[in-house]
């Protein structure tokens, strides 16, 4: 599904958010962090959507 697990993606996302919050990055670095954050949020959501699909299938 993705080369990152939910837990990995979430942990990296938390780090990205922390870096953005702490400031001290150039505009270019901030944009790169933002893009990576968006990418990681998509990965997390993909895991959850997949889990939801399985949950729905189990419930029949």
């Amino acid at each position: 599904m993705t080369d990152l697990s939910y837990e990995q993606a979430r942990a990296e996302l938390a780090t990205v958010v922390e870096k953005l919050e702490s400031g001290g990055t150039t505009l270019e670095e901030s944009l790169a962090l933002w893009e990576r954050g968006e990418e990681l949020a998509v990965i997390c959501q993909r895991w959850l959507d997949n889990a939801r699909a399985r949950l729905t299938a189990d419930r029949g």
Binding site: T2, D3, S5, E7, L13, A14, W47, A51, R54, L55
Partner: protein
Amino acid sequence: MSQRIQDYMLASAVRGREVVRAGPFTVTISAHDPLVYINYAIPAAGADPTPQDIAALEEAFTSRSRTPRLEYLPGLAPLVEPALVAAGFTVTDRLPLMECPPGAEVNQPLPDGIELVTPATEDEFRDMVAAQHEAFGEPPPSAEHVAKARASGNIHLFARTTDGEPAGGGAAVAVRDGISEVAGIAVRPKFERCGVGGAITLHLTRAARAAGAGLVYLTPAGDAQERVYARVGYRRTDSVLFLTKETS
């Protein structure tokens, strides 16, 4: 063993975040970002929350403009789910959790013509990550994706044919507190159904143990993957449960 995984997840959850205690719940809040993935609570093992605890839990989120949300291993706190559902929470997702007990690993014959190597060079990392992206239906990796994999400190394994064609790959997360998570097991479509995924999983599990992981776990993405991991020796031990309460 689930308690150790829950402790491991809790350690990640509190890092860099505001931590609020609400009865038996540890609520972790990202001060500046309402993203649901980084704002959630974890109950203590054996928690039996009272209506007051649940009210305090909701208050901890809503007073910070966050949606009440939990992520935890329900096997450790079985009374929490029914209590929260009765209080209006909804189960949104449930990720299966599998562990491979020490000594449970089952040998997986490596298909003829396939070898497993620890990627070391730039080319090997690029080929491995590209094989993973192809297997997961993602666009080809950027140079940043490859660099990130190289710098991660994780244990990687690259499957290729003996004449160098990439077949798949995977990783075991760098061991922390004696725990490692196996993730990203991927096999390119043309190499599926010949045992490559099982062989990658087995060798990563053994590598994680050799690196000091007494506990190795993973979360399968689907039933087919779960069957592969079961053949290697993994067993479902719990799940990660996601509960939320939408507020108006």
